[in-house]
């Protein structure tokens, strides 16, 4: 279920962007050697939390080491210094990028769910759009970005357009799978017992689909950030991508990497604080209902 959005062919294979889901799947497939069997200090040092924090601290150390060993690479201290020095630029540019993202994501959410649902519900629409969606996924965002710059110059519409065309297909595929996995028998039974359509939708269709929609929306969000960043980089006068480009032209790798770092923090924060809890919530009923059926 974790990788439903990606496996168009229904073949196994995990998307690393959903590391949580993949690791969970691995653990349920192979519940080997629980580290809880060890004792005391050893047990504390080999616990999952200790492992995660060891990795995090090591990563920062490694970054610092690379920064001090190689001139071209700015270390973490330099990045923090740069950002505090230019803190007045921070919020206005972040806001520009977030504003584009909000616009784009609203459009993506509406267009993607509507088309995805229609494709799952009616086979005529499915066959009509399947190949087009496949082409849409294969199209690289950066060529869209270059085209957008050529078409609209520095206009605000560029980032939103590119985000929509490159991220919507992902949500469509995922939503389509969700719509197709709605239990047909249950639906027939509800119709036979004259359950109102609105109630069918609220209690049967929506719960099944929400998980797929949110999972697809999560990947679409990631794609949208990347697309917006690209357009801002190639042709814009404000935003995080523009800042990265500006400092690159100014010959400051530190500035460039710092702005990239800002973007990364925003992406991870949105994913961890908004998307993951939403996805967990959407998946919760499934665990309860399987427990009930057993």
């Amino acid at each position: 279920m974790a990788t439903a959005e990606r496996s168009i062919e229904e073949l196994p294979g995990f998307d690393p962007r959903d590391a949580e889901g993949a690791v969970e799947a691995i653990e349920t497939a192979d519940p080997l050697e629980p580290s809880s069997r060890a004792h005391g200090l050893w047990r504390a040092l080999t616990s999952d939390i200790a492992a995660v924090w060891t990795a995090r601290i090591l990563a920062v150390l490694l970054w610092a080491l690379a920064g001090s060993a190689i001139d071209r690479i700015p270390g973490p201290v330099e990045v923090i210094d740069f950002l505090t020095e230019h803190s007045d630029l921070l919020w206005p540019n972040i806001w520009v990028t977030i504003k584009s993202a909000l616009w784009a994501l609203s459009i993506i959410l509406v267009a993607g769910t509507l088309l995805g649902f229609a494709m799952g519900r009616w086979w005529q629409i499915r066959y009509f759009f399947t190949d087009l969606v496949m082409v849409g996924i294969a199209l690289p965002a950066f060529i869209w970005a270059l085209l957008a710059v050529m078409w609209w110059g520095f206009d605000d519409i560029g980032p939103i357009f590119v985000a929509c065309v490159s991220a919507t297909p992902m949500l469509i595929v995922s939503t389509r799978q969700g719509a197709q996995s709605v239990d047909g028998d249950l639906q027939k039974m509800s119709t036979a017992y004259r359950v109102p359509v609105t109630r069918q939708f609220r209690q049967l269709v929506l719960p099944t689909m929400s998980e797929y929609i949110i999972a697809g929306f999560r990947f679409a969000t990631l794609a949208a950030w990347g697309a917006i960043l690209l357009v801002e980089f190639f042709g814009s006068e404000e935003g995080i991508g523009f800042q990265a480009n500006y400092w690159y032209d100014a010959g400051s790798f530190t500035g460039m990497i710092s702005w990239g770092f800002v973007m990364l923090v925003i992406i991870v924060a949105v994913d961890k604080l908004l998307m993951e809890p939403a996805l967990r919530r959407a998946r919760r009923w499934r665990a309860e209902s399987t427990a009930w059926s057993l």
């Binding site: 990606r6 196994p12 690393p16 492992a51 294969a138 990631l222 973007m263 990364l264």
Partner: protein, 277 residues
């Protein structure tokens, strides 16, 4: 015997019903879908925009033919493919051991969890920027960032492959004192291989996009470099042509190479062979 003669007659009898069948409708509708998109594009370029802004699909096809006959396309794609494969090779070298550890030890799973998550969630532009910062204009840059991008997919899927190895067979091998090399060869490798291919399928398109993007930022050869050239002279026609080549390449590799190979290699797991949805 009678059954056989009946099946022999089937094709000729069913032409009429084929035209009314779901399979025909499927093909017809998907062709209709493609045509209406092309129609929309052609109409927009004909009546709404200047040809410089949005060239017609016919002009793009003609331009693609010219580019192809110049030999530029094949050369650029081979160059890019070479860099991508270098990245993939490095990712395999690093990712397989990490994946084996992650599949075997809970500690490794927790340790590498954040790396996998982070590397997979970095936007492609940031990777391209890193390549530019660390390597400048070179061939190693694209290969290096492709490695970073592919690494999480390889490790996660190898780990899943290890976890999917039949526990019963593993226990039996231990009971019968099979050597580790024998177990690896006959149990672990066959379990992991399909998942490696799955990793290729999951992240081939992304790795290819990243490679080309990195080339647009700083490289002197390859598909991305050509696309950047089209951008610097503001040629929408060239950009669209390269975009089409790009799409055709990705779809051909995914549909005609990776997906069938994977279906075949996974075939032993479900003998029914009903993988198509």
């Amino acid at each position: 015997m009678t059954g056989r003669t009946e099946t022999l007659r089937l094709p000729t009898v069913q032409v009429g019903s084929f035209l009314r069948s779901r399979a025909f409708a499927r093909v017809a509708l998907s062709i209709l879908g493609g045509l209406s998109f092309l129609g929309l594009w052609a109409a927009l370029s004909e009546w709404k925009f200047e040809p410089v802004v949005l060239p017609s699909p016919f002009a793009v096809v003609e331009n693609m033919r010219v580019l192809l006959s110049e030999g530029l396309v094949v050369e650029a794609f081979l160059k890019s493919l070479q860099k991508t494969l270098m990245g993939w090779g490095a990712a395999m070298l690093l990712g397989i051991p990490i994946g084996l550890l992650m599949g075997r030890y809970r500690y490794a799973r927790a340790f590498f969890h954040d790396f996998v998550y982070l590397l997979a969630n970095v936007p492609l532009v940031v990777y391209a920027v890193i390549s530019l910062v660390v390597f400048g204009i070179s061939d190693i840059g694209p290969a290096f960032v492709v490695m970073l991008l592919v690494l999480p997919a390889v490790s996660i899927n190898v780990a899943a492959g290890v976890a999917s190895a039949d526990q019963g067979i593993l226990q039996m091998s231990r009971a019968f004192d099979r050597r580790a090399s024998v177990v690896t060869r006959w149990v672990i490798v066959p379990s992991v291989l399909p998942f490696l291919l799955a990793a290729a399928r999951v992240s081939f398109a992304d790795s290819w996009k990243l490679e080309a993007l990195t080339e647009t930022f700083g490289s002197a050869s390859g598909v991305g470099f050509q696309i950047h050239k089209a951008f610097t002279v503001f040629s929408v026609l060239d950009a669209l042509s390269w975009m089409m080549f790009f799409v055709i390449f990705v779809i051909v590799v995914e549909r005609l190479l990776l997906a069938p190979a994977e279906r075949r290699i996974f075939a032993w797991r479900n003998p029914g062979g009903a993988t198509e949805s």
